[in-house]
């Protein structure tokens, strides 16, 4: 059973369109991170959300943490080809000897065509 379910798995859109991707779970988390991974590179942190209902903006990207801290969304306004990549959500496990370990979702692969 996957702890984090990301949807959609793949998304191909035209430049200028808006889109939303989701990260869902049945578990409650103290925080959630979003990473972007470009082809041939490692993931890079975009944002961390920690408070239920929190909204953070990073230029054209808007991140929201669900009120119950079980899910999150990433909305991109007026997508550009430079937004192409794999978007991963991740949560921190804080129990036993695994404090500080991240569990990743499988990601949403976004392709923005010019």
């Amino acid at each position: 059973t996957q702890l984090l379910e990301q949807s959609p798995q793949f998304l191909s859109i035209q430049e200028g369109e808006n889109l939303t991707v989701y990260c869902n779970s049945s578990s409650v988390f103290s925080s959630l991170q979003w990473y972007r991974q470009e082809p041939g590179e490692g993931p890079v942190l975009l944002v961390t959300v920690v408070t239920g209902g929190e909204v953070k903006k990073l230029k054209r990207l808007t991140f929201q943490f669900g009120d119950a801290r079980k899910d999150s969304s990433l909305h991109i306004t007026a997508a550009q080809p430079g937004d192409t990549g794999l978007y991963l959500c991740a949560v921190l496990l804080n129990y036993g000897g695994s404090q500080g370990n991240l569990i990743f979702g499988k990601g949403t692969k976004l392709s923005v065509k010019p």
Binding site: E41, G42, P43, G100, N101
Partner: protein
């Protein structure tokens, strides 16, 4: 401004061969991690280390060994490579923190093929 450096970037092995992947970080981070990334499986934790001289198993440790003799280096070893270990391997590091939010910093990966 190197961050996390992985060597080699690409490698092809034959079944049964052994090799070591090297990860080096220059950020003085306490925590280091090895992941594998496979299509449709996401990133899965192989082993991790919370400090020099310590290692621990992650989600998929079988077939791999690790060592952290120096704080800045984390080595991943394959003693007898199998085709199922064909993957992209990522190393990451993170500063110690008492709270959430510290990012993991990733290298650019090692693409390993086992024939």
């Amino acid at each position: 401004n190197a961050g996390v450096t992985q060597t080699p970037k690409f490698r092809v092995l034959k079944t049964g061969q052994s090799m070591t992947l090297l990860c080096a970080q220059d950020m003085n981070h306490e925590y280091m991690y090895w992941y594998r990334q496979d299509p449709g499986m996401g990133l899965r934790l192989i082993h991790y280390s919370v400090g020099e001289g310590t290692t621990a198993k992650g989600e998929v440790p079988d077939g791999y060994n690790v060592s952290r003799l120096k704080k800045q280096n984390f080595l991943l070893g394959l003693e007898s490579a199998a085709p199922s270990q064909t993957s992209v391997y990522f190393c990451a590091s993170r500063a110690w923190t008492g709270g959430a939010g510290q990012p993991q910093h990733f290298g650019d990966g090692t693409r390993l093929s086992i024939l």
